[in-house]
């Protein structure tokens, strides 16, 4: 018989980290096909809104969709910034400008958006994530950029991003809550100083949004190894 003692406590904190996943980018940015996914609840005005109490479905958005036809359904943060400018979460206009500029090669034909708040981990890990990753891979995507939203959104965003990385695409999470992206095992992280709800920069601040997207793309190229984070020197405070 074993002598046991009630009341003992483990003495060392152990973060539970997922296994590393990292696909090195092997092309110049100017030759890459880029996609942008988001957990921030963006969808077309014509589509069924997300269920704000938790939803693991996703919406298909053609990159040719005008930004004026997009909207947000997300209960996890103040929506006013995205209502002003959807590029604050999903910088679709900036991406088109970067293609024109020749900074990136092209955009995927379509992308997939979801609402990660309260996201069901198993569903995102085993169903939604792999499905989105497969659809992006089938389009020949090289780079996937991703924004989260609220706290659990960052978790869902990271899970889907990891699925994409596992299929060989090089991904970065643009995080307003970098510790969560880090802890959940995002392959690469950039961290502008922005509030949740404007994860890709201040609404209507085109230079800031462009810089955040560009430097995140550069981090996809330059990040030396798994789970490394780059703090971006852009700050926006949102007074609700």
């Amino acid at each position: 018989m074993l002598t046991t003692k009630e009341g003992m406590q483990s003495e060392i904190f152990v973060p539970v980290t997922p296994k590393p996943v990292f696909s090195e980018l092997k092309k110049p940015l100017s030759e890459c096909k880029v996609a942008f996914i988001t957990a921030g609840g963006i969808h077309k005005k014509s589509q069924t809104p997300f269920n704000t109490s938790g939803d693991f479905s996703y919406r298909t958005i053609e990159f040719s969709t005008p930004s004026s036809e997009l909207m947000v359904t997300h209960g996890g943060f103040d929506n006013s910034d995205i209502n002003k400018d959807v590029n604050a979460m999903f910088p679709i206009d900036r991406l088109h400008e970067l293609v024109e500029e020749g900074f990136i090669g092209s955009l995927a034909t379509e992308t997939y958006t979801f609402m990660g708040g309260g996201g069901n981990v198993e569903k995102f890990k085993n169903e939604t994530g792999p499905e989105i990753a497969r659809k992006l891979k089938d389009q020949g995507v090289d780079i996937v950029l991703c924004t989260g939203g609220c706290g659990t959104c960052h978790r869902s965003a990271t899970i889907v991003t990891r699925c994409c990385e596992e299929l060989g695409m090089s991904c970065v999470v643009i995080a307003a809550l970098p510790p969560i992206a880090r802890q959940q095992g995002a392959p690469r992280i950039t961290a502008p100083h922005v509030p949740i709800g404007s994860n890709a920069g201040e609404p209507n601040n085109i230079p800031q949004q462009t810089a955040i997207v560009k430097e995140s793309l550069e981090w996809v190229r330059d990040c030396p190894s798994y789970n490394q984070m780059k703090v971006l020197p852009y700050e926006y405070r949102h007074n609700v």
Partner: protein, 594 residues
């Protein structure tokens, strides 16, 4: 919208924080609250400030919001129509009542893969005892409950496999002279021996010996590479027969290169000896030991290569061997006879001790199973063996099977003397409730892929040893924590209860982890939680070993070990000490406070 009902139940006592902006009139439910397991990260990131006036989740559920509240704001009484009563005293009473009527059930995983369930008292059932085979799903059901006729259940009875007698020979005086000898407790070392010893390796440029008595400790020393006992076989091989150990004296190897650069890796222990060694710890000199300092100067720029530091160890070993030869013949006072046994206690839980040792090259290396205890010759280096797991018997370890070519931080490395008196080996071997079936040494390779590779080999080994539990230790911290955690995972995913032991504290916080690392023992003894450059300060001590063994028993018996707090806290360690009747872990103030 943020947490599920299951999460909610685990976090009723945690702060209630809205995950999102919530408007007046809302009736609060789980879906409105943020996951408390994310709070620490959010606080660290400056996104959340917890308030002492904030309510707990159980206090706010079902209440109605009187005003709009922003996301990530603690919920206070002012914004609610009501606060649920959760009287803590009433709760305590309830708890003690439930305890009394709670069925008393003990389960234990014993030998022969049997799960023993004993229900002392439960409603309508009393005194039921069941022994079920574990993982016996594949076995025909009919066989499950029928013991083979005539075969008595194993009882944990001790069966001695081999015995080692360690004769501790009293040495009361050490001096340098013309000829090496031991006469009447006086060890004389030929002062010219160093001239021959230095020829053992061309990378060793000079060697010098001097003697430091306990009252002479406040003197400068170059970095301490190792502390090595003088021990020799007089009968049998390592782990059996008779070994003589010189008592009251140890070798201390120090080293610099020709440019005066300390031979060290992460941290260096040069300075005043009395401040740079944790006297009395297993790897160190004891308070009353006479120290024979062997100082080596090695070729410039070889300090961080494999051959350089090894040259210093090899030349020192030449000197020690001349003393071993005298010790073999010496028939003076035996101060203590230590009987070490390799035993089997069939029927008790089968446990192994896994010791991760450094294997990245340079000083990150060890000599395993030399011919003489704590020696060099005849041994193999774990790096050359590919760092694969190697099983030794407890007696082999206690007979000096490991010569440490130690590196890493002075405080967190295990020196040669550590292994000959390893508290976990001693503790597990002596424990009559366990069956210590072996001690596994596994090197920590330099390359990430190799770390995973050796770890997988360890996993198969643990499985084939059919063990019921294991303790895994590592010296040092940093990259070796990757494989350390991997090893814990290899045991954990096979359902083997596992306890991890390491220095982590502040400086060595784990950056990787898995869900199996739930019973962890901290070795730190530095006030700031740093590698403090005091040789042997933060490593496996008797207290560390006792806590680890108890945690393993708890885990094997299914007795809860509470999760660790997010940040290193010595109070947690001392609470465990107190529970087990151990002395307090007093931290050394070495100016590392941050």
């Amino acid at each position: 919208m943020s947490i599920t009902k299951e999460t909610l139940e685990q976090h009723l006592k945690d702060p209630a924080i809205f995950c999102c902006r919530r408007e007046k009139g809302l009736v609060i439910s789980a879906a409105d609250l943020e996951d408390p397991s994310l709070f620490d990260d959010m606080v660290d990131a400056g996104l959340l400030t917890l308030s002492p006036n904030g309510l707990k989740i159980e206090q706010v559920l079902g209440s109605t919001l009187l005003t709009d509240v922003e996301a990530l704001t603690p919920i206070t009484a002012e914004v609610l129509d009501k606060v649920n009563e959760t009287d803590s005293s009433a709760e305590k009473e309830k708890e003690s009542v439930t305890n009394e009527s709670k069925p008393i059930i003990t389960t234990k995983i014993g030998g022969e893969g049997m799960l023993h369930i004993e229900i002392a008292k439960a409603d309508h059932i009393e005194g039921l005892k069941l022994d079920l085979p574990i993982g016996g799903a594949a076995a025909p059901a009919a066989e499950t409950f029928v013991p083979a006729p005539g075969v008595a259940a194993p009882t944990g009875e001790k069966k001695v496999i081999r015995t080692l007698k360690k004769k501790h020979m009293k040495i009361s005086k050490v001096e340098l002279g013309d000829k090496t000898s031991i006469i009447d407790g006086v060890l004389t070392i030929d002062k010219n021996i160093v001239d021959k010893a230095v020829l053992e390796d061309p990378l060793c440029k000079s060697l010098a010996l001097d003697i430091i008595y306990p009252n002479e400790r406040h003197q400068y020393t170059e970095t301490i590479m190792d502390v090595c006992p003088i021990a020799t076989k007089v009968e049998g091989e390592l782990g059996e027969g008779i070994t003589k150990v010189a008592d009251g004296v140890v070798f201390m190897l120090t080293g610099v290169d020709e440019d005066g650069v300390q031979v060290h890796e992460f941290g260096s222990s040069e300075g005043y000896l009395d401040e740079k060694m944790y006297f009395g710890h297993p790897g160190c000199a004891d308070e009353n030991d006479i120290i024979i300092r062997c100082h080596a100067v090695i070729e410039r720029l070889t300090g961080m290569t494999r051959p350089g530091p090894f040259a210093a160890h090899k030349c020192q070993d030449y000197v020690i061997q001349t003393i071993r030869d005298e010790l073999k013949k010496y028939e003076g006072e035996v101060i203590r006879e230590e009987i070490c046994e390799d035993v089997r206690r069939a029927g008790n839980p089968r446990v192994v001790l896994v010791k991760e040792i450094m294997g990245q090259g340079a000083m990150h290396d060890n000599v395993i199973c030399p011919t003489e205890p704590c020696g060099i010759l005849g041994g193999q280096k774990n790096v050359d063996c590919g760092n694969v797991p190697i099983v030794l018997t407890p007696n082999q370890v206690r007979d000096g099977s490991i010569h440490a070519l130690t590196c890493i931080g002075p405080a967190t490395k295990e020196m040669t003397r550590h292994y000959i008196r390893e508290p976990l080996v001693e503790g597990l071997a002596a424990d009559t409730e366990l069956d210590l079936i072996g001690v596994i040494f596994i090197g920590s390779p330099q390359v990430n892929d190799e770390k995973l590779w050796v770890s997988e080999r360890l996993g198969s080994l643990l499985e084939s040893l059919d063990c019921d539990g294991c303790i895994i230790t590592t010296e040092g911290f940093g990259n070796n924590h990757i494989d350390f955690i991997q090893h814990i995972g290899q045991a954990g995913k096979r359902g083997i209860p596992v306890v991890g032991v390491s220095f982590c504290a502040y400086q060595g916080q784990l950056v990787v982890g898995n869900e199996y690392a739930t019973a962890m023992v901290e070795e730190n003894m530095d006030k700031g939680g740093f590698e403090n450059n005091v040789a042997g300060c933060s490593c496996v001590t008797k207290e560390v070993a006792t806590r680890a063994i108890q945690m393993l028993k708890n885990k094997m018996a299914g007795v809860e070990i509470k999760p660790a707090p997010k940040k290193w806290n010595n109070d947690v360690i001392n609470a465990n000490n107190k529970l087990l009747g151990l002395p307090e872990t007093v931290l050394l103030d070495n100016g590392t406070l941050h």
